[in-house]
Amino acid sequence: MLRNEHPVTGRRLPRLDGAAKASGRHVYGADFALPGMLYGKILRSRVPRARLVRIDTHRAAALPGVRAVITAADVPKVRYGNAVKDLTVFATDQIRFVGHPLAAVAATTPEIAEQALAMIEVELEPLEPVYDPERALETDAPLLHPDWQSYAVLPFIARQGNVAGRSRIRHGDVDAAFARAYRVYENRFTTPLQHAGYTEPRAATAAWDGNATLTVWSNAQLPFEVQAMLSDILQLPSSQIRVVVPGIGGGFGGKLRIGVEHFAALLARACGRPVKIITTSEEELIAAHPRQPAIITLKTGVARDGKILARDGRVLVDCGAYAGSGPLVGAVALQVLAGPYRASNLRLESLAVYTNKVPSGSFRAPSGPMANLAVECQMDMIAEDLGIDPLELRLRNVVHEGDLGPAGEVLKSVSVEECLRRAADAIGWHDRRPAPGRGKGIACSWWMTTGGSSGVYLKLNADGSVSLTSGAVELGTGALTGAAQILAEELALDLEDIRIATVDTQNAPYDYGAQGSRTAFSVGNACRAAAEILRRQIFAVVAKHLEIPADEILLREKCVVARNHRLPLAEVARIAQLGAGGLIAHGTAISPPPAHDPGRVENHPLPAWNTPSFHAHAADLSVDRETGEITIHRYVVAQDVGYAINPTYIEGQIEGGVSQGLGQALSEEIVYEDGRVLNASLTDYKMPTSLDMPRVESILVECPSQHGPYGAKGVGEPPCIEPPATIANAIAAATGLWITSLPITAEKILLGLEGSEQKP
């Protein structure tokens, strides 16, 4: 393939939407407005579990300015959902969590809509709730979904009562390996609910063209999934539903599942006017799609030299009142629980369990940080017990090129040793406890580049620029600037010559969506395929025009070069428009998962990971023994990105991912008491500020992948996986104290230190 003489990829070019965003001109979902639109609000339950006896909306409907009030009685009687179709738009017979939608109102102002909500009368009969997922597993626990057997599910899902999904990876003989192990370690870890923390609330504006066609402008991460869900909910063919994503102010997986689009659509249909809904901070913290709380138990048997012989682990994810992403999130934890380590005997199980709390979602590397906390803290506990340096213990166990992964797949482009060594060198691992109360921690992991297909359309514009239409939204990661760099490189253009279209399901080709660290990878591959087709089209037009064979034609510096002719692409576009209806190319990409041993895996949607990436984090911190507060002096990330398409935005992913991971490690928790959220505001839900964040030192390791564009691997999710384990290990190095329950607050540290001082 011809590459640009001045490559566009691999360079620190400013993103295409940067100036529009920095000048406030970029329009986000929450900014979108239509003439004559009304404002929608949702009535949400204040009790965690009850039978809904009666709901009376007459007074609310009579309030001046109110245009529609809808309840379960006004919407199609259908269940919808992602892995398990267990959701209804509004509570029907049973209320299952505080925040459960009961009714919705559209009014001329948000204030009137709010006032109307307070006038809806609800009669309830309280039922016994279940908050603890371990209690929910007991045989005498109340059943959250008595009709669970009637729900439709994806084929791989295994369920039973309050278990919404169970997955397993098993091979070898774990019990026999434990019996001959030098030592066996068993530990339990817990992690809390964490909000994705996007700064733009979820928002949707819906308008109907008569009653036939719906358009929704929203900040959804997966417009095609939202379209499919709306099709189920409204009982309309999906082609009659158009989802447009003008812009999105962060998602991090929290905007994957349908948000408020359906409420806006139903209200707009009821009142015959456009309706806009934007969530409040309280709604975000009681009824969004946060990261599942998890309980992880991990038992590991090792030989005298620290080699792992067997692992027996269970991840229990609390998916809340509805399955949401829970069954998939639980399943994916199993690969992280195996770790980037050789182990010939594995018995790993995940359970996604219903409780009377907020239904949860797929926050960035969904179960990665939870399972990694267990694996990597336990590695340090083992190292300490055996008197082996924690880095050395890891190096004795990590996987190498050609090893088998947990599902029996052959691992390729394996770089975990290099990541560990480079992170350790950078943090100064030789001096692990440089002062009293100061210590260094290290943790490593691996993660997938999620598969799924991508299609892109390219159009050669009259001015010689090229439009890129994709179904993948730009979340902010810079992934589409990365894809545009690839496209520019393939077409001998500058990055600024690529125009990225707004995502609109009516005219965008399908994309599996901006999720799973796949956007630059998969859309980038589709761009390469489409560029090849567009090149051939361009050469055919020029060959005919100049009567020169196509194989003597080249693209160079925005021109077509053929013998002694040099045609600017704008000229080619003009010729193609005059004689050929213009030029449009369609390129697609799909990355097939590696072959695996199906005998090792049960009920797993992603049994063998596509193009895994490897990474290691290291931290140097001090603990104040008086206050329990920690100060992070340095934080290093060595991440294998395969090929750095744009190093600036890859660093941006690492720095931002670490910030979310440190939030989970140290301060973030949606706190429940008796089924109610105690901290449903940004005053009380503490995300890292500029004063909390250390400078993050990024080391980009480039071990090229077989399937990514120019060797790239998925980048976006991994940086938030290792921070909790890295911090916990550094705290243990500094103090000798193990805190196995996130977040590791100053209070927990202080109580732990006081406890250990009281012991003899």
Binding site: A22, G24, A196, I248, G250, G476, Y649, S659, M687, S690
Partner: protein, 166 residues
């Protein structure tokens, strides 16, 4: 509800608006004037994405009543500079990779402007910048490239001031 007349200057342009007493400055900017560069999120002064300059000082426009802005000068991100004529802060944010999703960026840039304007001729330290922007949440960047952008803009703005003085 009784409406009253409000005379307000936004980005150097005079407006006469009929406002309701409970309307916030944020509501007036976004809904009445269509200036959606000022972002909306928590509505309780916690996240900082709605920051604008009121008589040159950074305020959370979600907790300032429009009525409190009578006869005062408001600067929003649209008034600071457009995509073709970026202010040095806007340019530095775009060039240093400080913009990801971008939703906090207008508020972050105006917070930085207010801070730099209070310290003319100075090059602030990293710690001072961290302190200055700690009221604006960014979930994408971990703040690092934002801090680098503000430091770079401070240098450029000082150079421009010196050139203008010469």
């Amino acid at each position: 509800m009784t409406r009253s007349v409000l005379a307000l200057s936004v980005n150097g342009e005079q407006h006469e608006l009929l406002i309701e007493p409970h309307w916030t400055l944020l509501h007036v900017l976004r809904t009445e004037l269509g200036l959606t560069g000022t972002k909306e999120n928590c509505l309780e002064g916690e996240c900082g994405v709605c920051t604008v300059l009121l008589d040159g000082k950074a305020v959370n426009s979600c907790i300032v009543l429009a009525d409190q802005c009578r006869g005062r000068e408001v600067l929003t991100i649209e008034g600071l500079g457009g995509p073709e004529r970026l202010h040095p802060l806007q340019r530095a944010f775009a060039e240093h990779g400080a913009v990801q999703c971008g939703y906090c960026i207008p508020g972050m840039i105006l917070t930085a402007k207010s801070f730099l304007d209070e310290h003319p001729g100075e090059i602030p330290s990293e710690d001072e910048i961290r302190e200055a922007i700690c009221g604006t949440l960014c979930r994408c960047t971990g703040y690092q490239k934002i801090i680098d952008a503000i430091a770079a803009a401070a240098v450029r703005m000082n150079e421009q001031t010196r050139h203008a003085a010469q």
